[in-house]
Protein backbone atom coordinates (compact mmCIF):
# COMPACT_ATOMS: atom_id res chain seq x y z
CA UNK A 1 0.00 0.00 0.00
CA UNK A 2 2.65 2.47 1.10
CA UNK A 3 4.95 1.10 -1.58
CA UNK A 4 2.30 1.74 -4.22
CA UNK A 5 1.70 5.26 -2.93
CA UNK A 6 5.43 6.03 -2.94
CA UNK A 7 5.84 4.59 -6.42
CA UNK A 8 2.97 6.70 -7.74
CA UNK A 9 4.36 9.78 -6.03
CA UNK A 10 7.85 9.20 -7.39
CA UNK A 11 6.84 8.62 -10.99
CA UNK A 12 4.22 11.34 -10.76
CA UNK A 13 6.92 13.76 -9.58
CA UNK A 14 9.27 12.79 -12.41
CA UNK A 15 6.48 13.25 -14.97
CA UNK A 16 5.53 16.56 -13.35
CA UNK A 17 9.09 17.88 -13.51
CA UNK A 18 9.38 17.12 -17.22
CA UNK A 19 6.07 18.86 -17.83
CA UNK A 20 7.29 21.81 -15.79
CA UNK A 21 10.67 22.21 -17.47
CA UNK A 22 9.11 22.09 -20.94
CA UNK A 23 6.11 24.31 -20.16
CA UNK A 24 7.47 27.04 -17.91
CA UNK A 25 8.98 29.02 -20.79
CA UNK A 26 5.67 28.88 -22.63
CA UNK A 27 3.88 30.44 -19.65
CA UNK A 28 6.42 33.24 -19.35
CA UNK A 29 6.32 34.14 -23.05
CA UNK A 30 2.53 33.95 -23.13
CA UNK A 31 2.24 36.14 -20.05
CA UNK A 32 4.83 38.64 -21.24
CA UNK A 33 4.05 38.95 -24.95
CA UNK A 34 0.51 37.61 -25.16
CA UNK A 35 1.71 35.28 -27.85
CA UNK A 36 -0.06 31.92 -28.03
CA UNK A 37 2.87 29.75 -29.16
CA UNK A 38 1.51 26.31 -30.02
CA UNK A 39 4.89 25.43 -31.55
CA UNK A 40 6.56 25.49 -28.14
CA UNK A 41 6.71 21.70 -28.00
CA UNK A 42 8.61 21.64 -31.30
CA UNK A 43 11.43 23.57 -29.60
CA UNK A 44 11.45 20.97 -26.83
CA UNK A 45 11.66 18.22 -29.45
CA UNK A 46 14.54 20.09 -31.11
CA UNK A 47 16.38 20.05 -27.78
CA UNK A 48 15.71 16.34 -27.49
CA UNK A 49 17.18 15.75 -30.95
CA UNK A 50 20.26 17.84 -30.10
CA UNK A 51 20.91 15.63 -27.05
CA UNK A 52 20.30 12.46 -29.08
CA UNK A 53 22.64 13.57 -31.86
CA UNK A 54 25.32 14.82 -29.47
CA UNK A 55 25.39 11.65 -27.36
CA UNK A 56 24.78 9.06 -30.10
CA UNK A 57 26.41 10.43 -33.25
CA UNK A 58 29.07 12.77 -31.90
CA UNK A 59 29.83 10.74 -28.79
CA UNK A 60 29.77 13.80 -26.52
CA UNK A 61 29.08 13.28 -22.82
CA UNK A 62 25.52 13.79 -21.59
CA UNK A 63 26.62 16.70 -19.39
CA UNK A 64 27.94 18.56 -22.43
CA UNK A 65 24.92 17.68 -24.56
CA UNK A 66 22.41 19.26 -22.15
CA UNK A 67 23.91 22.80 -22.19
CA UNK A 68 24.41 22.40 -25.94
CA UNK A 69 20.67 21.69 -26.31
CA UNK A 70 19.84 24.78 -24.26
CA UNK A 71 22.12 27.05 -26.27
CA UNK A 72 21.14 25.69 -29.70
CA UNK A 73 17.42 25.86 -29.08
CA UNK A 74 17.65 29.28 -27.42
CA UNK A 75 19.49 30.60 -30.50
CA UNK A 76 16.88 29.05 -32.79
CA UNK A 77 14.17 30.63 -30.65
CA UNK A 78 15.84 34.06 -30.86
CA UNK A 79 16.08 33.80 -34.66
CA UNK A 80 12.43 32.77 -35.04
CA UNK A 81 11.34 35.55 -32.70
CA UNK A 82 13.33 38.19 -34.60
CA UNK A 83 12.22 37.02 -38.04
CA UNK A 84 8.52 36.25 -37.68
CA UNK A 85 7.02 36.01 -34.21
CA UNK A 86 7.75 39.71 -33.68
CA UNK A 87 5.37 40.69 -36.50
CA UNK A 88 2.49 38.91 -34.77
CA UNK A 89 2.61 40.59 -31.35
CA UNK A 90 -0.72 42.27 -30.89
CA UNK A 91 -2.29 40.34 -33.79
CA UNK A 92 -5.51 38.53 -32.99
CA UNK A 93 -5.36 35.13 -31.33
CA UNK A 94 -6.49 33.23 -34.40
CA UNK A 95 -3.52 34.41 -36.46
CA UNK A 96 -1.05 33.61 -33.68
CA UNK A 97 -2.52 30.16 -33.18
CA UNK A 98 -2.47 29.46 -36.91
CA UNK A 99 1.05 30.72 -37.39
CA UNK A 100 2.42 28.64 -34.55
CA UNK A 101 0.57 25.59 -35.89
CA UNK A 102 2.26 26.27 -39.22
CA UNK A 103 5.63 26.36 -37.48
CA UNK A 104 4.79 23.14 -35.66
CA UNK A 105 3.84 21.33 -38.88
CA UNK A 106 7.01 22.42 -40.65
CA UNK A 107 9.06 21.27 -37.64
CA UNK A 108 7.32 17.87 -37.69
CA UNK A 109 8.12 17.47 -41.40
CA UNK A 110 11.69 18.63 -40.85
CA UNK A 111 12.30 16.22 -37.93
CA UNK A 112 10.81 13.32 -39.92
CA UNK A 113 13.08 14.02 -42.87
CA UNK A 114 16.18 14.51 -40.75
CA UNK A 115 15.78 11.81 -38.10
CA UNK A 116 13.12 9.41 -39.41
CA UNK A 117 9.70 8.73 -37.93
CA UNK A 118 10.88 6.45 -35.09
CA UNK A 119 11.45 7.24 -31.44
CA UNK A 120 14.99 8.31 -30.44
CA UNK A 121 16.67 7.81 -27.06
CA UNK A 122 19.72 9.76 -25.91
CA UNK A 123 22.66 7.92 -24.35
CA UNK A 124 22.35 8.21 -20.57
CA UNK A 125 25.55 8.32 -18.45
CA UNK A 126 26.37 5.18 -16.47
CA UNK A 127 26.02 7.03 -13.17
CA UNK A 128 22.32 7.58 -13.86
CA UNK A 129 21.37 4.26 -15.44
CA UNK A 130 21.13 2.24 -12.21
CA UNK A 131 18.68 2.24 -9.33
CA UNK A 132 18.53 4.30 -6.18
CA UNK A 133 17.01 2.94 -2.99
CA UNK A 134 14.76 5.25 -1.02
CA UNK A 135 12.92 3.95 2.06
CA UNK A 136 13.57 0.36 1.05
CA UNK A 137 12.13 0.78 -2.47
CA UNK A 138 14.17 0.79 -5.67
CA UNK A 139 13.64 3.69 -8.06
CA UNK A 140 15.32 4.36 -11.41
CA UNK A 141 18.20 6.75 -10.76
CA UNK A 142 17.55 8.69 -13.96
CA UNK A 143 14.07 9.68 -12.84
CA UNK A 144 15.48 10.84 -9.51
CA UNK A 145 17.83 13.04 -11.54
CA UNK A 146 14.83 14.41 -13.48
CA UNK A 147 13.14 15.40 -10.22
CA UNK A 148 16.29 17.11 -8.94
CA UNK A 149 16.71 18.89 -12.28
CA UNK A 150 13.12 20.19 -12.17
CA UNK A 151 13.59 21.65 -8.70
CA UNK A 152 16.97 23.11 -9.70
CA UNK A 153 15.43 24.84 -12.71
CA UNK A 154 12.63 26.25 -10.57
CA UNK A 155 15.26 27.60 -8.15
CA UNK A 156 17.37 29.04 -10.97
CA UNK A 157 14.35 30.73 -12.54
CA UNK A 158 13.28 32.08 -9.19
CA UNK A 159 16.71 33.64 -8.73
CA UNK A 160 16.75 34.97 -12.30
CA UNK A 161 13.24 36.40 -12.30
CA UNK A 162 13.10 37.43 -8.66
CA UNK A 163 16.65 38.63 -7.98
CA UNK A 164 18.22 40.02 -11.15
CA UNK A 165 17.73 43.21 -13.07
CA UNK A 166 16.55 41.34 -16.16
CA UNK A 167 14.01 39.46 -14.06
CA UNK A 168 12.80 42.74 -12.61
CA UNK A 169 12.26 44.08 -16.13
CA UNK A 170 10.39 40.94 -17.15
CA UNK A 171 8.11 41.18 -14.13
CA UNK A 172 7.51 44.85 -14.80
CA UNK A 173 6.64 44.19 -18.45
CA UNK A 174 4.29 41.32 -17.54
CA UNK A 175 2.47 43.57 -15.09
CA UNK A 176 2.19 46.58 -17.34
CA UNK A 177 4.02 46.67 -20.61
CA UNK A 178 3.28 50.30 -21.49
CA UNK A 179 4.44 51.51 -18.11
CA UNK A 180 7.63 49.46 -18.36
CA UNK A 181 8.34 50.98 -21.76
CA UNK A 182 7.62 54.45 -20.43
CA UNK A 183 10.27 54.10 -17.72
CA UNK A 184 12.85 53.02 -20.27
CA UNK A 185 12.76 49.22 -20.48
CA UNK A 186 13.78 48.09 -23.97
CA UNK A 187 10.94 45.63 -24.44
CA UNK A 188 12.02 44.62 -27.96
CA UNK A 189 15.28 43.23 -26.64
CA UNK A 190 13.57 41.88 -23.56
CA UNK A 191 11.05 39.96 -25.67
CA UNK A 192 13.78 38.35 -27.77
CA UNK A 193 15.76 37.37 -24.67
CA UNK A 194 12.69 35.99 -22.92
CA UNK A 195 11.56 34.05 -25.97
CA UNK A 196 15.07 32.60 -26.32
CA UNK A 197 15.18 31.74 -22.62
CA UNK A 198 11.74 30.11 -22.72
CA UNK A 199 12.48 28.00 -25.79
CA UNK A 200 15.96 27.17 -24.48
CA UNK A 201 14.55 25.77 -21.24
CA UNK A 202 12.01 23.83 -23.30
CA UNK A 203 14.91 22.38 -25.31
CA UNK A 204 16.61 21.40 -22.07
CA UNK A 205 13.34 19.81 -20.94
CA UNK A 206 13.05 17.87 -24.18
CA UNK A 207 16.54 16.47 -23.64
CA UNK A 208 16.18 15.72 -19.94
CA UNK A 209 12.67 14.32 -20.31
CA UNK A 210 13.29 12.03 -23.29
CA UNK A 211 12.91 9.09 -20.90
CA UNK A 212 9.37 10.17 -19.89
CA UNK A 213 8.08 11.92 -23.04
CA UNK A 214 9.80 10.07 -25.86
CA UNK A 215 11.35 12.07 -28.70
CA UNK A 216 9.46 11.54 -31.96
CA UNK A 217 8.83 14.01 -34.81
CA UNK A 218 5.25 14.56 -33.61
CA UNK A 219 6.37 15.33 -30.01
CA UNK A 220 5.23 18.94 -30.28
CA UNK A 221 1.73 17.93 -31.33
CA UNK A 222 1.24 14.85 -29.16
CA UNK A 223 2.02 16.53 -25.86
CA UNK A 224 0.81 20.02 -26.79
CA UNK A 225 -2.41 19.60 -24.82
CA UNK A 226 -0.39 18.73 -21.70
CA UNK A 227 1.92 21.74 -22.01
CA UNK A 228 -0.98 24.12 -22.59
CA UNK A 229 -2.85 22.62 -19.66
CA UNK A 230 0.10 23.20 -17.34
CA UNK A 231 0.33 26.82 -18.44
CA UNK A 232 -3.39 27.53 -18.37
CA UNK A 233 -3.88 25.90 -14.98
CA UNK A 234 -0.73 27.44 -13.52
CA UNK A 235 -1.44 30.93 -14.76
CA UNK A 236 0.34 33.00 -17.37
CA UNK A 237 3.52 34.89 -16.57
CA UNK A 238 4.23 32.97 -13.40
CA UNK A 239 7.02 30.49 -12.60
CA UNK A 240 5.47 28.95 -9.48
CA UNK A 241 1.98 28.50 -10.95
CA UNK A 242 3.08 26.05 -13.65
CA UNK A 243 5.17 24.20 -11.02
CA UNK A 244 2.11 23.66 -8.87
CA UNK A 245 -0.01 22.82 -11.90
CA UNK A 246 2.57 20.33 -13.19
CA UNK A 247 2.70 18.66 -9.76
CA UNK A 248 -1.10 18.30 -9.68
CA UNK A 249 -1.35 17.03 -13.22
CA UNK A 250 1.66 14.73 -13.08
CA UNK A 251 0.62 13.00 -9.87
CA UNK A 252 -3.08 12.82 -10.78
CA UNK A 253 -2.28 11.39 -14.20
CA UNK A 254 0.14 8.76 -12.94
CA UNK A 255 -2.17 7.84 -10.06
CA UNK A 256 -5.17 7.57 -12.41
CA UNK A 257 -3.32 5.42 -14.92
CA UNK A 258 -1.86 3.21 -12.18
CA UNK A 259 -5.00 2.72 -10.09
CA UNK A 260 -7.73 2.71 -12.76
CA UNK A 261 -5.94 2.06 -16.05
CA UNK A 262 -9.18 1.56 -18.00
CA UNK A 263 -9.98 5.26 -17.51
CA UNK A 264 -6.71 6.32 -19.15
CA UNK A 265 -6.09 10.03 -19.35
CA UNK A 266 -9.68 10.70 -18.35
CA UNK A 267 -8.82 12.13 -14.90
CA UNK A 268 -6.37 14.71 -16.04
CA UNK A 269 -8.90 16.40 -18.35
CA UNK A 270 -11.63 16.25 -15.72
CA UNK A 271 -9.34 17.93 -13.18
CA UNK A 272 -8.29 20.57 -15.69
CA UNK A 273 -11.85 21.46 -16.63
CA UNK A 274 -12.77 21.74 -12.94
CA UNK A 275 -9.78 23.98 -12.15
CA UNK A 276 -10.27 26.24 -15.16
CA UNK A 277 -13.93 26.71 -14.37
CA UNK A 278 -13.20 27.58 -10.74
CA UNK A 279 -10.21 29.79 -11.54
CA UNK A 280 -10.25 30.89 -15.19
CA UNK A 281 -6.90 32.69 -14.84
CA UNK A 282 -5.18 29.66 -13.31
CA UNK A 283 -3.53 29.37 -9.88
CA UNK A 284 -1.19 32.35 -10.16
CA UNK A 285 -2.37 34.06 -13.31
CA UNK A 286 -2.07 37.80 -13.64
CA UNK A 287 -4.75 37.59 -16.34
CA UNK A 288 -6.65 34.91 -18.22
Amino acid sequence: MITAALTILFHGLAFAMVLYIVSVGLGITMGLMNFANLAHGAFAAAGGYVVVMATRSLGLPFWVALPAAFVTVALAGAVVERLVVRTLYGADELRQVLFSIALLFMAIAGFTLAFGPLQQQPEIPAALSGQVTLGGIDFPAYRAFVIVAGVAILAALWLLIGRTRMGMRIRAAVDNRNMAEAVGVDTRMLFTLTFALGTGIAGLGGGIGADVLSITPTYGQEYLVLFLIVVAVGGLGSIFGPFLAALCIGVVDVAGKYLIPEFGAFFIYGVVIAILLAKPAGFFGVRS
Binding site: M30, V84, E93, L98, A102, F105, A109, F266, P280, S288
Partner: protein, 351 residues
Protein backbone atom coordinates in the same frame (compact mmCIF):
# COMPACT_ATOMS: atom_id res chain seq x y z
CA UNK B 1 -27.26 56.33 -54.38
CA UNK B 2 -29.11 59.53 -53.69
CA UNK B 3 -26.04 61.09 -52.14
CA UNK B 4 -24.83 64.03 -54.28
CA UNK B 5 -21.40 63.36 -55.79
CA UNK B 6 -19.01 66.29 -55.78
CA UNK B 7 -17.56 66.81 -59.24
CA UNK B 8 -13.93 67.10 -58.27
CA UNK B 9 -13.80 63.89 -56.27
CA UNK B 10 -11.80 61.16 -58.06
CA UNK B 11 -14.10 58.39 -59.19
CA UNK B 12 -11.75 55.54 -58.23
CA UNK B 13 -11.60 56.33 -54.53
CA UNK B 14 -15.34 56.80 -54.51
CA UNK B 15 -15.97 53.32 -55.82
CA UNK B 16 -13.64 51.83 -53.20
CA UNK B 17 -15.37 53.53 -50.32
CA UNK B 18 -18.71 52.50 -51.74
CA UNK B 19 -17.66 48.85 -51.79
CA UNK B 20 -16.73 48.98 -48.14
CA UNK B 21 -20.04 50.56 -47.27
CA UNK B 22 -21.93 47.92 -49.20
CA UNK B 23 -20.24 45.08 -47.35
CA UNK B 24 -21.36 46.35 -43.98
CA UNK B 25 -24.97 46.98 -45.02
CA UNK B 26 -27.54 44.72 -43.45
CA UNK B 27 -29.18 43.03 -46.38
CA UNK B 28 -27.70 42.52 -49.82
CA UNK B 29 -29.53 39.42 -50.96
CA UNK B 30 -28.16 35.91 -51.32
CA UNK B 31 -24.53 35.34 -52.24
CA UNK B 32 -23.63 38.98 -52.81
CA UNK B 33 -20.50 39.97 -50.95
CA UNK B 34 -17.72 42.48 -51.16
CA UNK B 35 -17.15 43.26 -54.83
CA UNK B 36 -19.06 40.17 -55.98
CA UNK B 37 -16.40 37.67 -54.84
CA UNK B 38 -19.05 35.56 -53.15
CA UNK B 39 -21.08 35.37 -56.34
CA UNK B 40 -18.03 34.45 -58.43
CA UNK B 41 -17.01 31.69 -56.02
CA UNK B 42 -20.58 30.40 -55.80
CA UNK B 43 -20.87 30.17 -59.57
CA UNK B 44 -17.46 28.50 -59.93
CA UNK B 45 -18.20 25.97 -57.20
CA UNK B 46 -21.60 25.24 -58.73
CA UNK B 47 -20.04 24.63 -62.16
CA UNK B 48 -17.36 22.44 -60.60
CA UNK B 49 -20.00 20.37 -58.83
CA UNK B 50 -22.00 20.00 -62.04
CA UNK B 51 -18.92 19.00 -64.06
CA UNK B 52 -17.94 16.43 -61.42
CA UNK B 53 -21.45 15.02 -61.45
CA UNK B 54 -21.54 14.68 -65.23
CA UNK B 55 -17.99 13.72 -66.18
CA UNK B 56 -16.00 12.91 -63.01
CA UNK B 57 -17.25 9.53 -61.87
CA UNK B 58 -13.76 8.68 -60.62
CA UNK B 59 -13.97 11.66 -58.25
CA UNK B 60 -17.45 11.20 -56.79
CA UNK B 61 -16.18 9.79 -53.50
CA UNK B 62 -13.60 12.56 -53.18
CA UNK B 63 -16.28 15.12 -54.04
CA UNK B 64 -18.49 13.77 -51.26
CA UNK B 65 -15.57 14.25 -48.88
CA UNK B 66 -15.12 17.80 -50.13
CA UNK B 67 -18.80 18.56 -49.54
CA UNK B 68 -18.58 17.17 -45.98
CA UNK B 69 -15.49 19.26 -45.25
CA UNK B 70 -17.33 22.31 -46.60
CA UNK B 71 -20.18 21.81 -44.13
CA UNK B 72 -17.72 21.35 -41.27
CA UNK B 73 -15.79 24.46 -42.37
CA UNK B 74 -19.02 26.48 -42.47
CA UNK B 75 -19.84 25.45 -38.91
CA UNK B 76 -16.41 26.57 -37.70
CA UNK B 77 -16.49 29.79 -39.71
CA UNK B 78 -19.80 30.76 -38.10
CA UNK B 79 -18.18 30.33 -34.71
CA UNK B 80 -14.64 31.62 -35.29
CA UNK B 81 -15.08 34.02 -38.19
CA UNK B 82 -18.42 35.54 -37.31
CA UNK B 83 -18.83 35.30 -33.54
CA UNK B 84 -15.08 35.46 -32.78
CA UNK B 85 -15.04 32.39 -30.52
CA UNK B 86 -11.71 30.60 -31.01
CA UNK B 87 -11.91 26.84 -30.71
CA UNK B 88 -9.29 24.12 -30.95
CA UNK B 89 -11.71 21.31 -30.21
CA UNK B 90 -14.46 21.45 -32.79
CA UNK B 91 -13.72 17.91 -33.95
CA UNK B 92 -15.55 16.81 -30.81
CA UNK B 93 -18.89 17.73 -32.41
CA UNK B 94 -17.94 16.32 -35.81
CA UNK B 95 -16.84 13.07 -34.18
CA UNK B 96 -19.84 12.86 -31.91
CA UNK B 97 -22.17 13.19 -34.91
CA UNK B 98 -20.26 10.43 -36.69
CA UNK B 99 -20.39 8.13 -33.67
CA UNK B 100 -24.06 8.96 -33.05
CA UNK B 101 -25.20 7.63 -36.45
CA UNK B 102 -22.66 4.80 -36.30
CA UNK B 103 -23.77 3.56 -32.90
CA UNK B 104 -27.45 4.12 -33.75
CA UNK B 105 -26.99 1.87 -36.79
CA UNK B 106 -24.84 -0.85 -35.19
CA UNK B 107 -26.50 -1.06 -31.77
CA UNK B 108 -30.10 -0.04 -32.42
CA UNK B 109 -30.62 -0.79 -36.10
CA UNK B 110 -31.45 2.86 -36.86
CA UNK B 111 -30.33 2.78 -40.50
CA UNK B 112 -32.58 5.40 -42.10
CA UNK B 113 -30.07 8.11 -43.15
CA UNK B 114 -32.08 11.34 -43.08
CA UNK B 115 -33.55 10.89 -39.62
CA UNK B 116 -30.15 9.69 -38.38
CA UNK B 117 -28.69 12.94 -39.68
CA UNK B 118 -31.13 14.88 -37.53
CA UNK B 119 -30.31 12.63 -34.60
CA UNK B 120 -26.59 13.43 -35.03
CA UNK B 121 -27.34 17.15 -35.21
CA UNK B 122 -29.43 16.95 -32.05
CA UNK B 123 -26.84 14.95 -30.08
CA UNK B 124 -24.05 17.34 -31.05
CA UNK B 125 -26.27 20.32 -30.25
CA UNK B 126 -26.87 18.87 -26.79
CA UNK B 127 -23.15 18.50 -26.15
CA UNK B 128 -22.68 21.99 -27.57
CA UNK B 129 -25.19 23.37 -25.09
CA UNK B 130 -23.59 21.55 -22.16
CA UNK B 131 -19.99 22.53 -22.95
CA UNK B 132 -20.88 25.90 -24.43
CA UNK B 133 -22.23 27.15 -21.11
CA UNK B 134 -18.83 26.41 -19.57
CA UNK B 135 -16.56 27.33 -22.49
CA UNK B 136 -18.18 30.73 -22.95
CA UNK B 137 -17.56 31.69 -19.34
CA UNK B 138 -13.89 32.12 -20.21
CA UNK B 139 -12.11 33.99 -22.97
CA UNK B 140 -8.78 33.95 -24.76
CA UNK B 141 -6.38 31.23 -23.71
CA UNK B 142 -8.75 29.78 -21.12
CA UNK B 143 -11.40 29.33 -23.79
CA UNK B 144 -8.93 27.70 -26.17
CA UNK B 145 -7.85 25.35 -23.39
CA UNK B 146 -11.37 24.39 -22.37
CA UNK B 147 -12.34 23.51 -25.94
CA UNK B 148 -9.19 21.39 -26.21
CA UNK B 149 -9.76 19.76 -22.83
CA UNK B 150 -13.36 18.80 -23.65
CA UNK B 151 -12.30 17.41 -27.00
CA UNK B 152 -9.50 15.40 -25.40
CA UNK B 153 -11.91 14.12 -22.76
CA UNK B 154 -14.40 12.85 -25.33
CA UNK B 155 -11.56 11.36 -27.42
CA UNK B 156 -10.41 9.46 -24.36
CA UNK B 157 -13.95 8.24 -23.64
CA UNK B 158 -14.38 7.02 -27.22
CA UNK B 159 -10.97 5.34 -27.04
CA UNK B 160 -11.87 3.50 -23.82
CA UNK B 161 -15.54 2.63 -24.49
CA UNK B 162 -14.57 -0.27 -26.75
CA UNK B 163 -17.87 -2.20 -26.59
CA UNK B 164 -19.71 0.84 -27.92
CA UNK B 165 -17.22 2.52 -30.25
CA UNK B 166 -14.79 -0.24 -31.17
CA UNK B 167 -11.98 1.85 -29.61
CA UNK B 168 -8.86 2.25 -31.72
CA UNK B 169 -10.08 -0.38 -34.23
CA UNK B 170 -12.98 1.84 -35.21
CA UNK B 171 -16.68 1.15 -35.41
CA UNK B 172 -17.40 -1.59 -37.90
CA UNK B 173 -20.49 -3.24 -39.32
CA UNK B 174 -22.43 -0.05 -39.95
CA UNK B 175 -25.45 -0.41 -42.23
CA UNK B 176 -27.10 2.54 -43.97
CA UNK B 177 -30.48 2.20 -45.71
CA UNK B 178 -31.09 3.75 -49.13
CA UNK B 179 -31.68 7.51 -49.01
CA UNK B 180 -35.43 8.23 -49.02
CA UNK B 181 -35.88 4.47 -49.53
CA UNK B 182 -34.81 4.78 -53.17
CA UNK B 183 -31.11 5.48 -53.59
CA UNK B 184 -28.76 2.76 -52.42
CA UNK B 185 -25.21 3.88 -51.49
CA UNK B 186 -23.22 2.60 -54.48
CA UNK B 187 -19.56 1.70 -54.86
CA UNK B 188 -18.85 4.64 -57.21
CA UNK B 189 -20.14 7.14 -54.68
CA UNK B 190 -22.83 8.70 -56.86
CA UNK B 191 -25.46 8.52 -54.13
CA UNK B 192 -22.90 9.67 -51.56
CA UNK B 193 -21.98 12.68 -53.70
CA UNK B 194 -25.51 13.78 -54.57
CA UNK B 195 -26.70 13.19 -51.00
CA UNK B 196 -23.89 15.21 -49.37
CA UNK B 197 -24.25 17.89 -52.05
CA UNK B 198 -27.97 18.23 -51.30
CA UNK B 199 -27.29 18.56 -47.56
CA UNK B 200 -24.51 21.06 -48.31
CA UNK B 201 -26.85 23.23 -50.38
CA UNK B 202 -29.41 23.29 -47.58
CA UNK B 203 -26.73 24.16 -45.02
CA UNK B 204 -25.27 26.92 -47.21
CA UNK B 205 -28.67 28.53 -47.77
CA UNK B 206 -29.31 28.35 -44.03
CA UNK B 207 -25.92 29.88 -43.20
CA UNK B 208 -26.21 32.67 -45.80
CA UNK B 209 -29.66 33.63 -44.58
CA UNK B 210 -28.55 33.50 -40.97
CA UNK B 211 -25.45 35.65 -41.43
CA UNK B 212 -27.46 38.21 -43.41
CA UNK B 213 -30.13 38.40 -40.73
CA UNK B 214 -30.06 40.91 -37.86
CA UNK B 215 -29.06 38.00 -35.62
CA UNK B 216 -26.03 37.23 -37.79
CA UNK B 217 -25.03 40.88 -37.90
CA UNK B 218 -25.29 41.10 -34.12
CA UNK B 219 -22.77 38.25 -33.87
CA UNK B 220 -20.30 40.28 -35.93
CA UNK B 221 -21.05 43.20 -33.65
CA UNK B 222 -20.18 41.11 -30.62
CA UNK B 223 -16.93 40.01 -32.26
CA UNK B 224 -15.98 43.60 -33.06
CA UNK B 225 -17.04 45.26 -29.82
CA UNK B 226 -18.60 43.16 -27.12
CA UNK B 227 -18.93 45.91 -24.53
CA UNK B 228 -20.73 48.19 -26.94
CA UNK B 229 -23.15 45.45 -28.00
CA UNK B 230 -23.89 44.82 -24.34
CA UNK B 231 -24.42 48.52 -23.79
CA UNK B 232 -27.01 48.77 -26.57
CA UNK B 233 -28.95 45.93 -25.01
CA UNK B 234 -27.87 42.79 -26.89
CA UNK B 235 -28.04 39.57 -24.90
CA UNK B 236 -24.39 38.81 -25.67
CA UNK B 237 -24.00 35.60 -23.68
CA UNK B 238 -27.27 34.16 -24.95
CA UNK B 239 -26.36 34.87 -28.58
CA UNK B 240 -22.89 33.37 -28.22
CA UNK B 241 -24.36 30.24 -26.68
CA UNK B 242 -26.95 29.93 -29.43
CA UNK B 243 -24.36 30.18 -32.21
CA UNK B 244 -22.18 27.69 -30.33
CA UNK B 245 -25.08 25.21 -30.34
CA UNK B 246 -25.92 25.85 -34.01
CA UNK B 247 -22.29 25.40 -34.97
CA UNK B 248 -22.06 22.19 -32.95
CA UNK B 249 -25.17 20.81 -34.66
CA UNK B 250 -23.83 21.60 -38.14
CA UNK B 251 -20.50 19.98 -37.31
CA UNK B 252 -22.40 16.93 -36.04
CA UNK B 253 -24.31 16.70 -39.31
CA UNK B 254 -21.04 16.87 -41.25
CA UNK B 255 -19.60 14.07 -39.12
CA UNK B 256 -22.75 12.00 -39.59
CA UNK B 257 -22.46 12.39 -43.36
CA UNK B 258 -18.88 11.10 -43.22
CA UNK B 259 -19.98 8.07 -41.19
CA UNK B 260 -22.88 7.33 -43.55
CA UNK B 261 -20.93 7.70 -46.78
CA UNK B 262 -17.90 5.70 -45.60
CA UNK B 263 -19.94 3.32 -43.35
CA UNK B 264 -17.12 3.36 -40.84
CA UNK B 265 -16.16 5.57 -37.90
CA UNK B 266 -12.55 5.76 -36.70
CA UNK B 267 -11.12 7.60 -33.70
CA UNK B 268 -9.50 10.14 -36.03
CA UNK B 269 -12.87 11.94 -36.35
CA UNK B 270 -12.33 13.15 -32.78
CA UNK B 271 -8.61 13.84 -32.99
CA UNK B 272 -6.96 17.16 -32.20
CA UNK B 273 -5.38 17.32 -35.65
CA UNK B 274 -8.85 17.47 -37.21
CA UNK B 275 -9.74 20.43 -34.98
CA UNK B 276 -6.53 22.10 -36.11
CA UNK B 277 -7.08 21.25 -39.77
CA UNK B 278 -10.57 22.72 -39.90
CA UNK B 279 -9.33 25.94 -38.32
CA UNK B 280 -6.62 26.04 -40.99
CA UNK B 281 -9.22 25.55 -43.70
CA UNK B 282 -11.26 28.49 -42.45
CA UNK B 283 -8.18 30.73 -42.27
CA UNK B 284 -7.02 29.55 -45.68
CA UNK B 285 -10.32 30.51 -47.25
CA UNK B 286 -10.76 33.67 -45.21
CA UNK B 287 -12.31 33.73 -41.73
CA UNK B 288 -15.57 35.62 -41.42
CA UNK B 289 -16.62 35.01 -45.03
CA UNK B 290 -18.87 32.01 -45.70
CA UNK B 291 -17.78 31.56 -49.30
CA UNK B 292 -14.18 31.86 -48.19
CA UNK B 293 -14.59 28.90 -45.84
CA UNK B 294 -16.25 26.93 -48.65
CA UNK B 295 -13.46 27.74 -51.09
CA UNK B 296 -10.85 26.90 -48.45
CA UNK B 297 -12.44 23.50 -47.85
CA UNK B 298 -12.33 22.64 -51.56
CA UNK B 299 -8.74 23.78 -52.09
CA UNK B 300 -7.50 22.15 -48.90
CA UNK B 301 -9.16 18.77 -49.46
CA UNK B 302 -7.97 18.55 -53.05
CA UNK B 303 -4.41 19.53 -52.11
CA UNK B 304 -4.40 17.08 -49.24
CA UNK B 305 -5.62 14.29 -51.52
CA UNK B 306 -2.81 14.97 -54.02
CA UNK B 307 0.09 15.78 -51.68
CA UNK B 308 -0.49 13.33 -48.85
CA UNK B 309 -0.56 10.55 -51.46
CA UNK B 310 3.12 11.36 -52.11
CA UNK B 311 4.38 11.41 -48.52
CA UNK B 312 2.65 12.51 -45.30
CA UNK B 313 5.82 14.26 -44.09
CA UNK B 314 5.96 16.39 -47.24
CA UNK B 315 2.29 17.13 -46.86
CA UNK B 316 2.88 18.50 -43.36
CA UNK B 317 5.70 20.67 -44.64
CA UNK B 318 3.68 22.17 -47.50
CA UNK B 319 0.68 22.63 -45.25
CA UNK B 320 2.81 24.48 -42.71
CA UNK B 321 4.45 26.64 -45.34
CA UNK B 322 1.14 27.48 -47.00
CA UNK B 323 -0.38 28.38 -43.65
CA UNK B 324 2.58 30.57 -42.65
CA UNK B 325 2.41 32.43 -45.96
CA UNK B 326 -1.33 32.96 -45.58
CA UNK B 327 -1.01 34.24 -42.01
CA UNK B 328 1.91 36.56 -42.74
CA UNK B 329 1.06 37.87 -46.20
CA UNK B 330 -2.63 37.24 -46.89
CA UNK B 331 -4.50 37.43 -43.58
CA UNK B 332 -7.80 37.67 -45.45
CA UNK B 333 -7.25 34.28 -47.03
CA UNK B 334 -8.01 33.07 -50.54
CA UNK B 335 -11.21 35.08 -50.75
CA UNK B 336 -9.16 38.20 -50.00
CA UNK B 337 -7.10 37.37 -53.09
CA UNK B 338 -10.28 36.92 -55.13
CA UNK B 339 -11.44 40.33 -53.86
CA UNK B 340 -8.21 41.90 -55.03
CA UNK B 341 -8.29 40.17 -58.40
CA UNK B 342 -11.84 41.36 -59.03
CA UNK B 343 -10.96 44.90 -57.95
CA UNK B 344 -8.01 44.85 -60.35
CA UNK B 345 -10.22 43.57 -63.13
CA UNK B 346 -12.80 46.24 -62.48
CA UNK B 347 -10.33 49.12 -62.34
CA UNK B 348 -8.88 47.98 -65.67
CA UNK B 349 -12.34 47.89 -67.17
CA UNK B 350 -13.02 51.39 -65.89
CA UNK B 351 -9.76 52.69 -67.36
Amino acid sequence: MARPIPRNEPVKSLSVSYQGAAASSTWRGLAMGRGGSDLVIAVLLGLAALATLLFGEAYWLLAAQVAITMIFALSVDLLVGFAGIVTLGHAVFFGLGAYAVGIASVQFGWTEPLSALLLAGAVSALLGAATGVLVLRTRGLGQLMLTMAFASLVYEIANRAKPLTGGADGLQGMVVSPVAGLFEFDIFGLTAFVYTLAVLIVVVIFAVLMTRSPYGRSLVGIRENRVRMQAIGTGVQRRLLSIYIVSAALAGIAGALLAQTSQFVGLNVLHFSLSGEILIIVALGGAGRLWGALLGAVVFTLFKDRLSALDPAYWYFWLGLLLAVIVLFAPKGLIGLVDRLLALFRSKEAA
